[in-house]
């Protein structure tokens, strides 16, 4: 191993590095083009070159000039994402804990739940939309739309909880009960704090999956658009760099969500290892 590492790199190294380079270019290339173009000057167009630099197109976004209802759809999407996040966290955590016990039909129930991951989203949305119409209930983002998005986020949340719980030692709960804690205290004082990083992960997935969900929402969101649908509409009728400004703003929101979650996970992990390392020098246990 040592010799190979210090020796010259093989062909596979360059192939893999090239592949990774392509991946990065495809992912961040367009994103940075959009980012740069969103600061286009007032007289500039949808393509390079830049004619000056301005925040004009960001203004245009919030002023309902000719760009559609950005502010309204943005708010709706954030509210919906918050709702989806909360429900996904609560239901996935409880379901994950329940699935630890093998009950009759548990694996059937599990496959039933995760099957929606392979069903085409547009069909799920269509089915929900048609059903609501048949029952004569108006579709709306907070009812049919919310339900449609949960068919997408709950299986993900459950799968994450499975991964998180597979590393969770049940002895913690037994120790809690052994020390006189009620089931409620065991849950809040032991299970939730220990699982916190995983639960934040579920929340992040719930939020981002909802925030940019399109296929399932298209036919279930009702009269008022969520952000992805508004963007879709704009691509066909907005011909100004406001479109790029929109892309920049929504991407920043996604990044903020990711940074917030990863940041809090890192904070928890650090809190768990930091405290004693200050005093580590006093450890009287050589060899351990």
């Amino acid at each position: 191993m040592q010799a190979r590492e210090s020796g010259r790199r093989g062909l596979s190294h360059y192939l893999l590095a090239g592949f990774f380079g392509l991946f990065v270019a495809f992912l961040y290339g367009p994103m940075s083009a959009i980012f740069v173009l969103s600061f286009q000057g007032p007289t500039g167009g949808l393509t390079f070159p830049m004619r000056g630099v301005s925040l004009r197109w960001f203004h245009a976004l919030f002023s309902q000039e000719r760009t559609g209802d950005f502010a309204g759809s943005f708010t709706r999407s954030l509210l919906l994402a918050a709702l989806v996040l909360s429900l996904t966290v609560v239901i996935s955590v409880l379901a994950g804990l329940a699935f630890r016990r093998r009950f009759p039909g548990s694996s059937f129930l599990f496959y039933l739940a995760v099957a929606s991951l392979i069903m085409p989203g547009i069909l799920v949305g269509l089915g929900i939309g048609v059903t609501f119409q048949f029952l004569d209930i108006p579709t709306a983002w907070y009812s049919s739309g919310l339900g449609a998005q949960l068919t997408w986020t709950l299986p993900f949340g459950l799968l994450i909880m499975f991964a998180v719980l597979s590393r969770f030692n049940r002895a913690y709960e037994e120790a809690g009960r052994d020390l006189g804690a009620t089931n409620w205290q065991v849950f809040w004082l032991i299970v939730v704090p220990i699982l916190a990083p995983g639960i934040i992960g579920v929340a992040l997935f719930g939020f981002t999956l909802s925030y940019d969900e399109f296929a399932r929402s298209l036919l279930t969101a009702g009269a008022q658009n969520t952000l992805p649908m508004e963007i879709w509409g704009m691509t066909t009728n907005v011909t100004s760099p406001a479109l790029f400004a929109l892309g920049t703003v929504t991407t920043l929101v996604s990044f903020a969500a990711i940074i917030l979650s990863l940041g809090s996970i890192a904070l928890i992990e650090r809190r768990r290892t930091r405290r004693g390392s200050v005093a580590a020098g006093t450890s009287p246990a050589p060899g351990h």
Binding site: L179, G180, I194, G276
Partner: protein, 377 residues
């Protein structure tokens, strides 16, 4: 708590009556009767899967028996929560809460009982001092070594003021040096608190060194429960003798029997034993245990020397130097492993070599007659 009217004078006397535990189709514990006097140090000893941990968990209240009664100080505790039982358990993995400092781990019981922060921290610190971990109060469990984590787990269990402390393989995660150190520490703490310790282990010498009462288990049954010395010197069955170690088991069928003397066919050779008061039918199974350090060796003068009573002829197999003694394996002595622990001074007087013909002999009173397996509980 109710004052019990059973055997021990101290608190924490445990009685199991007809306790059985089934998990689906498998039976982990089969109708066990056991009495552990209050204030005793009891070791449950056996190979993995013998049911010892299940018994511990039933005393702790983490499993309910399928049948039978578990009582502590005369009070039936089946169905009660651990706190109501007055038990505390130390888990094999210690199960220290990773998100809490050592101090808060130890104070956990006081917290869930609603005791104020200042008071519970003070009492937790006091307990940490008693296990000599006061300096580590503000560390997180992950920052401690195995031995230190164990002391924290011990403090966390003891702060509940239990009458019974249950320890699930407490020393198995430690290296040899720490294991010996913690063994002494456990004994010291048990003395200091004067409560019952029930300690599950699969290490024979650990049980012998620690326990007032050793309970040897196999396949969900108790093979032998008794004082450490009794279990070591007078194992009840061949299983116990083999499991505890330090013994050779001679087992064979009786081919001739006279008052006070039996002749066995072991599969390797015939052995004549002085066995006062025992007369056996020809063809019956006969088993004796023989301590490895009570067998003497001498070179055999000729390969066809007549077998004398209380001895076997054998060839020296592998030898292992143990410092103060030699472990000498003999081939062809009996149907199974036959080992002689020879003091080093005796060995060096006339060093043996592999393949040497020897006679292993013992005083008749050293042979301990064994019962047939599993009969007694």
């Amino acid at each position: 708590m109710a004052v019990g009217g059973n055997a021990g004078s101290a608190r924490g006397g445990i009685v199991l009556k007809g306790v059985t535990k089934r998990f689906g189709d498998t039976t982990a514990v089969r109708g066990i009767d056991l009495e552990i006097p209050g204030g005793a140090y009891c070791c449950l000893l056996g190979p993995s899967g013998c049911g010892k941990t299940t018994i511990l968990r039933m005393i702790a209240g983490h499993e309910d028996p399928s049948a039978g009664v578990v009582s502590i100080d005369g009070e039936d505790v089946v169905g009660k929560r651990p706190m109501q039982r007055g038990t505390a358990m130390m888990f094999q993995s210690y199960a220290l809460f990773p998100h809490l400092s050592c101090l808060d781990n130890v104070a956990f019981n006081l917290k869930v009982r609603g005791i104020g922060k200042a008071q519970r921290r003070e009492r937790a610190l006091e307990m940490l001092e008693r296990v000599r971990m006061g300096a580590f109060a503000h560390r997180l469990p992950a920052q401690l070594s195995g031995g230190q984590q164990q002391r924290i787990a011990l403090a966390r269990a003891l702060i509940t003021n239990p009458r019974v402390l249950l320890l699930d393989e407490p020393l198995s995660a430690l290296d040899e040096f720490l294991r010996l150190q913690m063994r002494l520490e456990l004994k010291r703490i048990q003395h200091e608190f004067g409560i019952t310790f029930v300690h599950v282990t699969h290490t024979q010498m650990e049980a012998i060194a620690l326990a007032d009462t050793v309970v040897v288990m196999d396949q969900g049954r108790i093979e032998h429960a008794g004082a450490a010395r009794e279990v070591f010197e007078q194992p009840r069955t061949a299983y116990v003798a083999r499991f505890i170690g330090g013994q050779n088991v001679l087992s064979g069928t009786v081919v001739a029997s006279h008052p006070g003397r039996v002749t066995l066919e072991t599969g390797a050779q015939r052995i004549v034993l002085d066995a006062p008061g025992t007369e056996r039918e020809v063809g019956a199974l006969f088993e004796v245990a023989l301590r490895r350090d009570r067998v003497s060796l001498r070179r055999s003068s000729s390969a066809i020397e007549a077998p004398s009573p209380n001895s076997v002829m054998a060839r020296v197999g592998s030898m292992e130097y143990q410092g103060s003694w030699f472990k000498i394996q003999l081939d062809g002595a009996s149907g199974e492993e036959f080992v002689v622990n020879l003091p080093d001074t005796r060995y060096f007087e006339d060093p043996l070599a592999e393949g040497d013909e020897v006679i292993a002999a013992w005083n008749p009173q050293e042979a301990h007659l064994l019962g047939t397996g599993g009969a007694q509980g």
